[in-house]
Symmetry: none
Subunit: 201 residues, 4 copies
DNA sequence: TGGTAATCGAGACGGTACGTCACGTCTTTCG
DNA sequence: CGAAAGACGTGACGTACCGTCTCGATTACCA
């Protein structure tokens, strides 16, 4: 958990080892409750403990507080960064843009917006967030660089600005507007519009 | 507040009228505390009452709960929607994009991110949020429409997608990344890149 | 209450006054639970609050902790010191000795032994205990003094030792041995034996 | 301890034998902590284990709970019942009365009062207490009986009442009033006063 | 001018959740 | 197999806020 990522070959501390069943039950209960309730505020440690069939102390032994637990719970939702076949710029971009703020677990959709304020809380939270997001950003950056090298995209574009243009609309929609039954801004439209520009030729 | 916006010519109810000093003190204390602390969770009604020099009941007499008070407090931060001179598409867009998530009050910068999860809480919150944002969106929509009519922009663009492309990067940056001392994605860059597209011609 | 004995003509502090119903309910619940359970350890503040139909904070607002509450609860059990008719030394002594460790409330019998260790905890507890006991001791002391003055008792007796002789057997029996269904050492026997002595004449 | 007093010639059970070092360390730690703190409540098994350098399970393997451990710990404090030279009634009584509630170990003085409520808890506790006290009571009873037989004391005295008269003052003083730096009620005074009675002759 | 009525501040009310600590039990590894 | 170490589920601790409820004191208005 959180505080012992590299469990490589630790010499094994004495005493009863921590239960992995508890680990999973806690994270699972957290996600369930978050998805059922609608806010971080209404998520209580006591409810998590009850739902997970676990004592409160077992939670506090692993995480210092609600924030850390939340971040850790989210981390388990994120699958691996999507793989780019590398066929065409357009296809790659559509794939990566569609993956922004996307998760395998359906509960994630309701959980993510709750994390926005958390991210702004402290640099520790921010770094945890970056660790999750950065691999995906790097994949996107790489696709853009390759396309420029191959002459498919203009050489003078600002890559950071471009990434913001591509990813922010999806992120915004899925964070602020996930409530709307279906998504109105599709990845393909975003990519095509950004690629072609608005001006008449 | 909130529940008595149209005090036009009410027949004046009997009894002592509500103190406007209290109204202001409460909203002000709320914004102060929000800007000092970093989360909605750590904002307590009791602290607001103490800071405002007001009884708790005086707050609950005006707002049904923390959420409503928060929304109202934010509303006071937002100035009027910016006026578009209507000189060129580019200038107008730069102006409006720069105004996204922008506020006069410096406290707003720290407060806004806290509101993201609130917005997703209930349709009431959502509507309140829309009421604040919609005028600005409409101004932007109008600029785009006029530009299309005048033949400055392609006629086949999807206006909603385009608005997302233009506004989301600023919004994302100011919500998720306000911590970064200075902004890295400038309105001009966004507008120019979107206008011109990425492809080589 | 513990902390405001002289409520004579206080200028009435602002805010809602404390509920006397709560005062009584708490003390009553405490005595009930103490009499039901068998130890101070098994008496919990939460159980008191529940039984009294009161929030925990309402208890902590009045008493700093379990000890203080207990002492206060006991105080309410003790009736007024018994009145001495002053007929004969023997009658007066029998009355006062019988009153040692005696209470109106039947619950007291089970509660008192629990207080012995409390009394030895700190000087504050000790003083509280003395305040309860001292009036009774003084009444006994007075009876002995008068009897000496009237020539009914020897003038060379040590009054403190004599008081210990008279009261300790009852106290011990009622503290350590209350479990024995009926008392084996009666006040009359104590008084008579002490008055007459053990030696043959 | 408690549950295996007669380890005389047991056939030696298999596996690692129990450490006698642990036995002593646990009892010693218990007495130390009891003497340092002032109540049974503040004595915790975890503290005992830590102080004794022992695992909690090692304690629970030997005693069923805190009460049993306490009683056992106290038992180790009590020396053998004092031997009566049998010179004169008065000398014997002074000796035995002075031994009431008396212990070799100075820690006992602070521990004893804590045991009063324990004694009243259950019949098991009571029996354990009686087993400690009874030998001393029997010695006193014997002295009184012999003195009556020899015609030194009146034949009509109630022996149980007399024992209460003699022992209770010391017990009370040492249980309730041990805090007073020095004792005010000396064994000699008690014995003499009880022997002679209060009345003028 | 003297009610009537809703406000004000203060703070107590019954609750719920917090994060900590100790309980007595269970589960490791080591000697 | 007993030892230590320490995690386990449980539940009480004392604190902080919740949203509601009295209090006495203040304003306004209307009669």
């Amino acid at each position: 958990m959180s505080d012992m990522t590299s469990t490589a070959d630790a010499p094994r501390s004495p005493g009863r080892p921590r239960s992995t069943r508890a680990d999973e039950a806690i994270v699972d209960a957290t996600l369930d409750l978050l998805a059922e309730g609608n806010s971080v505020e209404s998520l209580t440690i006591e409810a998590i403990a009850t739902r997970a069939g676990v004592g409160k102390a077992t939670i506090y032994r692993r995480w210092p507080g609600k924030d850390a637990l939340l971040l850790d719970a989210l981390r388990t939702l994120k699958g691996p960064a999507p793989h780019c076949a590398g066929r065409s710029v357009r296809d790659d971009l559509v794939l990566l843009v569609g993956a922004v703020g996307q998760h395998a677990d359906p509960r994630a959709r309701k959980i993510m917006p709750c994390l926005v304020p958390e991210v702004n809380r402290s640099s520790a939270h921010r770094q945890a967030y970056e660790a999750i997001v950065e691999p995906r950003r790097e994949a996107l950056r790489e696709v853009l660089r390759r396309a420029i090298d191959r002459g498919e995209l203009r050489a003078d574009i600002d890559i950071e600005v471009t990434m913001a243009l591509l990813t922010a609309p999806m992120l915004t929609q899925r964070m602020l507007h996930w409530h709307a039954g279906d998504e109105r801004v599709m990845p393909e439209r975003i990519v095509d519009t950004v690629l072609d520009g608005l001006r008449v030729r």
